[in-house]
Symmetry: C2
Subunit: 232 residues, 2 copies
DNA sequence: CTCGCGTCAACTGTCAACAGATTTGACGGT
DNA sequence: ACCGTCAAATCTGTTGACAGTTGACGCGAG
C-alpha cells in the first residue's frame, strides 16, 4: 500500500507513531471514536448525535464530524434524516434476522475457504480453542466462554485468505451490536454451541469445501434461531 | 424504519416524490451523481477527483462534496489519501476474486431463501426468463443476453425477502464494475451459463434450501473462474 | 546532460459564519 | 383543562476563507 516506512528498512515504533499521526485526519479519528462510543453502548441506539455538542467535546469544528457521520451512515451504524440530525441506528428484530442471514452466508464462505487451505498449525490452534471451550462449557461460565468463542470465530474468518470478506464479516457483527441484546448467550447453550464447533472442526480438517461451508452456515443460522427465540 | 409514510397508510406516487425531494440534500444528490459517473465509466478507475472542479461543475461548495466522497469511500468505490485527494478505486485481480467469493456467498443465501418461499408466480417468471435466454443463446447475441441475465439475477435477489441482503449484493456487483472488464461475457459461455440457470431453477422449484444455495453459489463461482481465465 | 535544491502554484484540511428548517414553549381562545 | 397558533431558540445545511501540505517547475552546480 505504498507505506512510507517501506523504504526505511526496519521500522522503529517511534516512526510508526509519526506515521499514524500523519495518516490520521480529524475525520478518521472522529469516525473511529464515534464508532467506539456506539459499539460500547455509550451512545445508545435511537439517540440523536448533536453535531455541536460532539464537535465541541472533541475540540473540532462541525465539518470533520459531519464527514465522519456520513461514513458511519454508509456503514449502517447511524441514520441521517435531513434537517433533523443523525441518529444511532436501532435494529428491529427483522433487521437482525436479515443481518444474521448475511453473516451466515459470509461465515459459510469463510469456512469453505479455510477448508481448502488448511494446515496443521491452524488446525492445532482451532482444536485448542474448541477443547478449551469444552472445559469451560462444563462449568457453565458464560463470561469465560465468550472471548474464546469470539477468538475461534475470528481465527476462522481472518485465516480464510480473503481480507475483504473478513472486513465485511466484522462490519455485520458490529452492526448486530445495535440489536438490543446484551448477554444473549444463555448458559444452557454452551455445550450445544461447542458441539457445532466440533462439527465445523471436523469439516475443516476433512478439506471438503461444501461440507465446511454448510457446517459454518448452519452454526450461525442456529445461533440466529437461539437469539430470536430468546427475544420474543 | 419509522418512515414518515408508514402512518399514512397507502402511499401515493406523488407523495413519495415529495418525500424524495424533501429527503435529498446536496450531499445525497452529489453522492448518487458521482456514483453514476463512476459506474458508467465516465470517471475511470485510478483517476483523482478534484474537489474544486467537481463542486464547481455541480454548482455547490466543497463541503457537501467532501461528505459525499466520504460516503463513497465507506462503500468502497473511492479511496481517500490524506492531503492528496480521493481516487476512484482501482480493483486488482486479487480484489476482484475476493469480491466474487463474497458475491457467491450472498447469492447462494438468496437462492436458499427464495427456494424456501417459492410460489408459482415467481417460478413462472423465472422460467420465462431462462427460456428466453435459451433462445438468445442459440443466436449467440451477447448484447441481447446480458439484460435478461441481469434481470434473472435481480429477480432472484429481490425476491428473497431480505432487503439488506439485496442491497449488499447490489453494492458488490457495483464494486465489480471497477474491475477492468467491459464485455466480459464471452459468447461461447452463453449456453453453459444458461445450463447452470436451469439447474438453479430446478433447485428453486424443489424447495430444497441446501441444494438451491449450492447451485447459486456454484453459478457465481464458475462465473468468477470464467472471468479470471479471460483476464490473465 | 543529470541531479539536487529552492520556489511556487494548486489542492486539501479545517474553521467560523450565514441561511433555512425544526423543535420548544408560551399564549390566548374554546 | 385542552388545543391550535405563533414566535423564540436550537440545530442542521451550506458557504466562503484561511492555513498547511504536496507535487511540479525551473535554476544552478557538478
Amino acid at each position: 500500500m505504498n507505506h512510507p516506512t517501506d523504504a526505511a528498512g526496519t521500522v522503529s515504533p517511534f516512526l510508526s507513531d509519526l506515521d499514524i499521526v500523519k495518516t490520521a485526519s480529524l475525520t478518521t479519528v472522529l469516525e473511529k471514536e464515534i464508532e467506539r462510543l456506539i459499539l460500547t453502548g455509550e451512545l445508545e441506539p435511537g439517540i440523536r448525535i448533536n453535531e455541536i455538542h460532539l464537535s465541541n467535546r472533541f475540540g473540532t469544528s462541525r465539518g470533520p464530524l459531519r464527514e465522519a457521520t456520513r461514513s458511519l451512515e454508509a456503514k449502517g451504524l447511524v441514520e441521517v434524516i435531513r434537517n433533523r440530525g443523525v441518529f444511532v441506528r436501532r435494529l428491529s428484530v427483522e433487521d437482525a434476522i436479515e443481518i444474521y442471514d448475511i453473516r451466515a452466508a459470509l461465515f459459510g464462505q469463510a469456512g469453505r475457504l479455510v477448508a481448502e487451505r488448511m494446515d496443521d498449525k491452524l488446525l492445532g490452534e482451532l482444536t485448542r480453542l474448541v477443547n478449551r471451550m469444552d472445559e469451560i462449557a462444563e462449568t457453565g461460565d458464560v463470561d469465560a466462554y465468550y472471548p474464546i468463542n469470539l477468538a475461534f470465530h475470528n481465527l476462522i474468518v481472518t485465516s480464510c485468505g480473503n481480507r475483504t470478506l473478513a472486513a465485511e464479516y466484522q462490519r455485520f457483527v458490529n452492526k448486530l451490536h445495535l440489536f438490543r441484546t446484551r448477554a444473549l448467550v444463555q448458559s444452557g447453550g454452551l455445550k450445544i454451541s461447542n458441539t457445532e464447533h466440533r462439527g465445523m472442526l471436523e469439516a475443516l480438517a476433512s478439506g471438503d469445501g461444501d461440507r465446511a461451508q454448510l457446517a459454518h452456515w448452519r452454526h450461525v443460522s442456529l445461533a440466529k434461531k437461539r437469539v430470536l427465540a430468546a427475544s420474543t
